[in-house]
Amino acid sequence: MYRKKKWLGFLIISPTLAVIGIFVYGFIGATVRASLSDWNSFKKLLSGEFVYTGLRNYERLFADWRFQTDMWNTLFFTVFFLFGCLLIGLILASLLDRPLKGGRVFQSIFLFPMALSLVVTGTVWRWFFAPGILPNDPAGINVLLGQIGLKSLQWNWFTVTDTIGPFNLALIPVIIAAVWQLSGYTMAMYLAGLRAIPESMTEAARVDGANAWQTFWKVKWPFLRPITLSAMIILGHISLKIFDLVYSMTGSGPKNVTDMPSIYMFEKTFRSNRYAEGSAIAVIMLLMVAVVIIPYLISTLKKSD
């Protein structure tokens, strides 16, 4: 009876396994294969002939100034985006983790951007930070800064080509938009974590005379640490593959100041028909995400056993 159930169970999920096998793993394999080919024009792709070129597409990419910029941009975007989301999420959650009149309303305000499309966010923030290059591009926040007497803060936002080392300052508005959209998520995660802490523990700390700071680090933080790690991994993998937001907000920008691997991949594959190089970018993106995600998946599932 039980044995039969197991076989039947396997039979029921086997179509899913087959579909995932083909459409995820098989297609990844096909992309890897394409990245090792010479399909860098429509004609060559159409010929259907597979000419193995080794790692030439990858070598070309790593020597490509634009791709190098993309990798730096991804690094800085990820670091600041994560830091912003975690910090703001933690502050908001700590403020809201108490009986508070109107707490629900504040929570909704901080969380609603999560329900929006990244494309909507990009469109809105593009207008917000529009630096005002006339005639086609009126200014956004710069107008407000001028009107309230902060002219000195006016800035060309996502079109500046200034850098600090390899960090493109034009990324700042994009990071702000991304933090605006996703810090509600970290807030919700931290809030759930804080509410799971038994009241007796915070109470005991108070009785022992611990101040708020000590209570936070000694009692609450141990509960929040695993949440921080989960949030870092979830947000980190989002930022490594970010596409919609940048595409709709800034595009690659002057001198690729806001370019990302995903945008370069899109242009290579769908605008200039360099399928093999586009595939190589996709494979590099996959590897970056896999390094973050696979250990996380294995460890969480092990814990649940």
Partner: protein
């Protein structure tokens, strides 16, 4: 008191772009200028909305045609998968689950080119059905996860009781688990609805005919072509966001629950 001050400061910055969005979208075109951007509209106008709805309505319709079947199919399949992954134990099942789950984290760029070749060969490229199938397939991991987590909470004894009565695998699913699944379905449906509605990469690469594109692609095209008509663009952004915002306003609790199950936990 101090807490409210800090919260209000945060709320101010969170709502600043929303203010700008609303103020701009209700302005007539003549009021869209350098100096008036941050002022409320002097003569509020629905010009932006009527224009953008007129332009976007075919795409809104496409998005509904895409989202509804894709959500239904992916949630039904997810429910069945979640049942097996949570209730039937055999060696290696967790590994199989991992195998499925990985699919939800990959950058879709890494399957995009073969996927499009596949859709072209099967004549599905450029059609809503091509997009529906794509979303159902790549939605399998997350819906399976949501239902697996949900069914984990249902005590095994309830199913075993039915098993003793001779109910088979299907019977115990349809008679016991399925009727209990409504909250799970609400979470999964909301999650899929929101995600598919908001999705852009598949939408922009799988459909090329502007008449067949979902709303997110049409919004980006609107922004690209009409640089000056910001009232139109902002109204368009609101129009594109309304369905998911309504879901968030009325079913926010379930939306947050979906958000939480996205972070795996076994």
């Amino acid at each position: 008191m101090g807490i409210y001050v800090i919260l209000l400061i945060f709320a101010f910055f969170f709502l600043l772009p929303v203010y700008m969005l609303l103020a701009t979208s209700f302005k007539p075109l003549v009021e869209i200028g350098m100096g008036t951007m941050w002022l409320l509209p002097k003569q509020p106008s629905l010009e932006g909305f009527t224009d953008s709805i007129q332009r976007l309505s075919p795409n809104l319709w496409n998005s509904f045609l895409l989202v509804i079947p894709a959500t239904i199919f992916s949630c039904l399949l997810g429910s069945i998968n979640g049942y097996i992954f949570s209730k039937i134990r055999f060696p290696g099942i967790n590994l199989l689950f991992l195998f499925v789950l990985f699919g939800m984290f990959i950058p879709y760029q890494s399957i995009l080119f073969p996927l499009i070749q596949f859709l072209q060969k099967t004549q599905l490229y450029g059609t809503i059905w091509g997009l529906i199938i794509t979303h159902v397939i790549y939605g399998l991991p997350i819906t399976s996860l949501i239902f697996r987590n949900y069914y984990m909470e249902v005590p095994d004894e309830m199913l075993e009781a039915a098993g003793i009565d001779g109910a088979g695998l299907f019977k115990s699913y349809f008679l016991i688990l399925f009727p209990l699944s409504i909250p799970g379905f609400v979470v999964a449906v909301i999650w899929q609805f929101t995600n598919i509605w908001n999705e852009f990469l598949f939408a922009v690469t799988i459909t090329s005919d502007p008449k067949k594109q979902p709303i997110t692609v049409a919004l980006v095209n609107l922004a690209g072509s009409q640089m000056i008509q910001w009232n139109l663009q902002m109204a368009g952004a609101i129009v594109a966001a309304i369905p998911t915002l309504l879901v968030y306003i009325f079913l926010g609790k379930y939306f947050i629950r979906g958000l939480m199950s996205g972070s795996v936990k076994g």
